[in-house]
Amino acid sequence: MAVSIEKMGKPAVAITTNKFIEVARTRAKKSGMPNARLVFVPHPVSGKTAAQHLAMVAGKDPATGNPVTQEIVDALSKPLTAEDQKTGFVESKPVPRLIAPETPENLMRIFQASGWTDYLPIVLPTEQKVSDMLKGTSHSPDEVVGKMASGPFEPWQFTVEKVAVNAVMAGAKPDYFPTILAIASSGISSLSNSPDSLVGAVVVNGPVREEIGMNFEIGAMGPFSHATATIGRAWTLISKNLGNAGIVGETYTGSQGNSLNFNNIVIAENEARSPWTPLSVQKGFKPGESVVSIFGGLGIQPGQGAKRGGATGKPAFDQQFSSILDAFTGYFGALIVCDPLVAKGLKAQGYDTKQKLSDWLQKNTQITVADYKEESFVGQFDAPRANKGIEPYASWFQLPASSRIPRFAAASDIDIVVTGGETLAVFQAGNLKYVTSVAVDKWR
């Protein structure tokens, strides 16, 4: 923002907290203004009183030790240096295609020290292994697959070969490569820079699931399929190395991190045992097309946490879902992952389509306007929409505090997939937002 204002010819200074010093400086550099004026106050600012904010302003900038107010005035009135007025390009060193020859042990150390891994052993991407991986697609190695960034940074562009290198590192087989390319081409990083420690999820539909041995029976979401494990892992490595994500303090600020980031949430839908339409068809693809659908959000939890819930279907599963969703933030939407037993029970209850269930959940999972306005995402995202007259937010903000409104703005914010081996009628639910779906077949 400060850079946009400077471009208009107006001096600007951005104030943020000292937890984000590296993020702010990185953002300034990647916006083309490495010397953009930044002033820091002690973290956190949120949750403090007006008196505490006055004290912060009267105090010192933790980054420099100078008074905050002096820093602000200097930022806006001190003459610029020659560096501040430079044109050209921010310097970046070209990335060599090959790493200088080394022993495998040293290469493992180099890769880890360089931040290119997930700190687990990798398969070293020799030219032979990468060449073998490239046989998994008809696309040429230098074809651009897409662009990716973990947040408000300039996205990095990457090629088929680069995706292949990271797929090899993850331990994937060439047969998995079209699926991995499809995920990469979405441009969605599995490692968001958000302090919320977000996670990524991918749902796989179509024949590719069986072709490459993805698991959608017992243990569907666990470590029981080589394809499931390595596809998810490849997405993390691609996000780190090709989307420049995961640089702690710069492009990653997740306060606690999330163990799901190692290989993300990877779900192959059990289409044969589901009484409903596959997710990919709901998203507009034809039956029989192989598709990946990308989600992102706060995580996933077991359904046994539902109020009065369990695996017995009492109360009915729709009410159990609603109970779990009641704790979610509407900003991220919901992804409900049902075992086929649960799906069949819901169909017997009258939900002959996923849409009917989403509609019911959207209508019956509610929050008071007072509680809604207290939610942090609402202030940042929904309030600006309400101010612009965008519905339903504009109307919600006009209602009395005690009024009840849907927690999710639309039924389309609630997605349902079916997977599992029917050993127990269980489900999981994620506060995850649907982002996009991508065809796998075009990457074969």
Partner: protein
Amino acid sequence: MKTGTRLLLAAALLLAALTAAYAQDGKITVLNPKGTPPPIPLVPMAPRPASLDDKTVYFVDIKYEGGASLLRAIMDWFSKNMPSTKLVFREKAGTFEQEDTELWAEIKQKADAVILAVGH
């Protein structure tokens, strides 16, 4: 021995020597997994006024938590210590990552400097 055969033998011997050398030092070549950062054009900063006295300073809340209150605290300092500076508070529309073109147009027309608070 024919020339072609000699050449073939020489090539085989060379390959054997190289393989032996590799086997001895154990080094291999791998591809770099890192992508290429995009070229980022440098943006020169806007010229600064000699002082903020008698100038109009906009205080822009980009809607991150705590930012508005922090800005008000800074405005309080300005009102006491730089009373000739005109202070204008504005909330940026849109999410915290979105540009507010209407506000930017107002700033371009009326502001001499801008303070943005991110909060957090």
